[in-house]
């Protein structure tokens, strides 16, 4: 039993580690690339297929990670809860009327972060990934951008419990410090999400030019060009997203946390019967 348990832990650890680091490498790959190419004799054709190949690899990382997470975090109650929350989150994403925010602002991270924090990283991961997926298929927004968006939103949810140690250290549960920590976390991810999405679009936008026409180009120069691109295309939007996340969590975080905690036990409880030959039953509740 203990041995099986530890193998399981090990496998989980392996999966999380491999998928996350692979995802990261795939995203920053364009900057590592020049260093590698100089030693290689790749033809032009190979290089042009790169952006879509990167997307495909990212999608496969997601597939493997999703399998791992799905198997560990889901029973009927949580399936129903996830379904409903994904619907609410997607509906919030569509409701332009309700969201008089500036471009770049998106209300979806609010619930992803808070439920990830309260119900656990796997739950947050699934909420993030599926919110993006469902709203894409409902609005006809399926495209190559999906894997990286899903990955990024999943990371947001999965990393939310990282706030826990800090909150515990400050003994902040239920206090304002907890909300502030989460709000700052939301702001950081507001920027982080933009960075991930930009890294993914970069090879598409930049094309393969600077990688092969001029052999001497250094990663510093690539980085510089990326900087210009980032500055022009997204810094303003990312900043708005970060500010939106920060304010939403700061203003609405505390009552939302109270509500989620009120319901947490009802969702995570599982019944274990100690039933034997028609005798009396015991009550067993258990919070996972």
């Amino acid at each position: 039993m203990t041995k099986r348990f530890s193998t399981s832990r090990l496998l989980s650890f392996l999966t999380y580690g491999v998928t996350t680091s692979m995802g990261l490498i795939l995203l920053i790959y364009p900057f590592l690339f020049p260093a590698i190419t100089q030693k290689s004799t790749l033809g032009q054709a190979r290089l042009t297929e790169m952006p879509l190949l990167l997307t495909l690899l990212l999608a496969l990382c997601l597939v493997v990670l999703l399998y791992e997470v799905q198997g560990q975090a889901v029973d009927t109650k949580l399936i129903a809860l996830l379904g409903i929350l994904v619907a609410i989150n997607s509906a919030l994403r569509f409701m332009e009327v309700a969201i008089p925010g500036p471009a770049g602002f998106s209300p979806i991270f609010f619930l992803i972060i808070l439920t990830g924090y309260v119900f656990g990283g796997r739950f947050g991961f699934l909420l993030g990934v599926l919110t993006i997926f469902v709203s894409a298929i409902v609005t006809g927004g399926v495209g190559p951008w999906l894997p990286s968006q899903m990955f990024a939103a999943g990371w947001v949810g999965m990393s939310a419990p990282l706030c826990r140690p800090l909150v515990n250290k400050l003994d902040g549960e239920g206090k304002i410090s907890e909300v502030i920590i989460l709000a700052v976390f939301g702001a950081l991810w507001g920027l982080g999400y933009g960075v991930v999405m930009n890294l993914w679009t970069w090879p598409f936008i930049a094309g393969p030019a600077d990688q092969y026409w001029q052999a001497g180009i250094s990663w510093v120069e690539t980085l510089q060009r990326y900087g210009a691109y980032y500055l022009i295309t997204s810094l303003a939007w990312d900043f708005i997203r970060a500010a939106g996340n920060f304010l939403l969590i700061l203003l609405l975080g505390s009552p939302t946390l109270i509500a989620l905690r009120r319901f947490k036990h009802r969702f995570t409880f599982t019944y274990r019967s100690s039933y034997s030959q028609g005798s009396k039953l015991d009550q067993k509740g258990d919070t996972t």
Partner: protein
């Protein structure tokens, strides 16, 4: 088919058992009706039958339950789902897939039945429930009644021996409710299905019920037996039964038709047209005046020249078939919809073009779903929020004053002991009173209510009626939209009927309610030549005749 032996159950973290010492037997093919106030354990009892209690709820169960020879606790809900079909109260919250056909097949797909068999069973069930026309429809486009029929189909496709229904019609209008119950009776008769049904609209099912299970009667666990026998010992009875019990009719009539046998000797001695006109003074100018109101939706006319007056100190009940525009009328009055023509005058001021929060200080409106209002952490806070909405920023003295106002209202609503409770944890009736508090805490002179008795049990209806009467006596003008004929009969000072966007009749309650069979209460059907509407009216009238 179903047997309970000394069954008791308590929920986790609860001191008081939800059901205690229940003993009952339900024979195969029986239609058994479960009655009891809310909190008496109806839902718990039903959930014991398929193992949701205790598998889904947790808690501790004692005693023995057997369903078709199986022990639901040992068998688990998964196994029980093939023997017991379960229909829930809310027709919106039971679906997983968005198309009728796929939804019906969902459970069978989970059991990995062969595709051919699934196809056959789905076709069979669609046929049985007359759902063929809806087969490819999306669930969101269905009405509440159609959804409940689909829910029945999802249960029946498993070919269960027992069908359990937990207040399946409480969220439906009378027409849909009638369809659902009629279908149920037909299934019970034709398939020999054992049916266990919890229902507030007792009078509708009573003619078909073989067995009655009353819970929590006078502190006892429950009693079960033939309807007549059980009714003799309970207080929750439809008007005809109430009257029959009071007058000692034997055998106790269950329906209006059965009651008629006892009438002839009364009828002949009933004085006609000795009616007292409703005590509404016509001289005072009406507080709320609706002039020639027209509302369009696209090129559809919803309201077509509605004229209606509402006096201070009266309760006007507005009835009408589904889709007649009742809710539209209320929403237009409070400014949620813009009329194409006409105006609304409250207290001499035209409010048609005012800002919503100004209108709402004069006219309170309780929408159908009180849950849409409630979000605070306590009932008291809920009332305070409304006050703050209207007052903007309040100083300390203002806060204190507001706190006093809110507490006084909670006292009146009978919720003072729940002031600090989380509103969403309260019973349906209490939740609704909190919502009512949140609406009326600004002391509007008019109150509009949209279907306030939806999902309420007998007791909760009575306390609502009492509350409304109290407000009326203090001079509030109340417009009540309802399908609940018996409540209307009891509470209305005047009645009106809205049909196809027009007021088709308006005036004396007794006259208006007798103008259409659909809106006639039981007592009025029993005594068509009187102006009696409730069991109370009839008792007083009969005693006068015989004294």
């Amino acid at each position: 088919m179903i047997s309970f032996q000394n069954v008791s159950f308590s929920y986790p973290d609860s001191e008081r058992p939800a059901i205690q010492n229940i003993n009952l037997e339900v024979a195969p093919g029986t239609l058994a009706l479960v009655i009891g106030e809310s909190g008496s354990g109806k839902s718990t009892l039903l959930r014991c039958v398929n193992g949701l209690v205790p598998h889904f709820s947790g808690g501790s169960l004692q005693g023995n339950v057997r369903v078709n020879g199986l022990d639901p606790v040992q068998a688990t809900p998964k196994v029980m789902s093939r023997h017991v079909g379960f229909i829930f109260q809310d027709p919106e919250a039971q679906f997983v897939v968005d198309r009728v056909e796929d939804e019906i097949a969902f459970a069978l797909e989970n059991f990995a039945l062969p595709a051919e068999e699934i196809r056959m069973r789905v076709a069979e069930v669609l046929d049985l429930l007359s759902l063929k026309a809806l087969r490819y429809r999306r669930l969101e486009t269905l009405s509440g009644g159609e959804r409940q029929r689909v829910a029945m189909a999802t249960a029946l496709v498993m070919r269960p021996e027992v069908l359990v229904l937990d207040e399946p019609t409480s969220q439906l209008d009378p027409k849909s409710a009638h369809d659902v119950l009629e279908t149920l009776v037909r299934l019970n008769r034709t398939l020999d299905l054992t049916v266990l049904l919890a229902e507030h609209r007792i009078e509708r099912v009573l003619p078909f019920a073989d067995q009655l299970i009353a819970l929590n009667v006078k502190g006892n666990g429950g009693i079960s037996g033939p309807p007549r026998q059980v009714f003799a010992q309970t207080d929750i009875t439809p008007p005809v039964v109430t009257l029959g019990k009071e007058l000692g009719w034997q055998p106790l009539p269950m329906t209006v038709e059965e009651g008629r046998k006892f009438i002839p000797d009364i009828e002949s001695r009933t004085p006609k047209s000795e009616t007292i006109p409703t005590p509404v003074s016509q001289k005072v100018a009406p507080y709320l005046q609706i002039h020639d109101l027209e509302v369009h939706y696209g090129n559809q006319i919803i309201l077509d020249g509605v004229n209606l007056d509402l006096q201070q100190g009266e309760i006007l009940v507005l009835m009408g078939p589904n889709g007649a525009g009742k809710t539209t009328l209320l929403r237009t009055i409070v400014g949620l919809l813009q009329p194409a023509k006409g105006k609304v005058i409250a207290g001499g001021v035209d409010i048609s073009n005012k800002r919503m929060d100004e209108i709402c200080r004069a006219v309170g409106y309780l929408p159908q779903d009180p849950n849409a209002l409630l979000f605070a952490n306590s009932a008291l806070e809920e009332l305070m929020i409304t006050l703050r909405n209207h007052a903007g920023k309040m100083d300390a003295a203002g806060e204190q004053e507001a706190d006093r106002t809110a507490r006084a209202l909670l006292e009146r609503l009978g919720l003072i002991n729940q002031a600090d409770d989380y509103p969403r944890d309260l019973s349906v009736g209490q939740r609704q009173r909190v919502a009512l508090g949140a609406i009326t805490v600004t002391k509007p002179k008019t109150l509009l209510l949209d279907e306030p008795t939806r999902g309420l049990d007998y007791g909760a209806k009575q306390s609502l009626a009492q509350l409304l009467r109290g407000w009326r006596d203090e001079g509030m003008a109340i417009l009540l939209v309802t399908h609940d004929v018996e409540l209307a009969a009891e509470i209305a000072d005047r009645a009106a009927i809205l049909k196809q966007g027009k007021i088709s009749s308006c005036g004396d309650t007794s006259r208006v309610m007798r103008s259409s069979v659909r809106f006639t209460p039981q007592i009025a059907r029993l005594f068509p030549d009187t102006d009696w509407l409730t069991a109370q009216d009839a008792l007083i009238g009969i005693r006068q005749i015989f004294s």
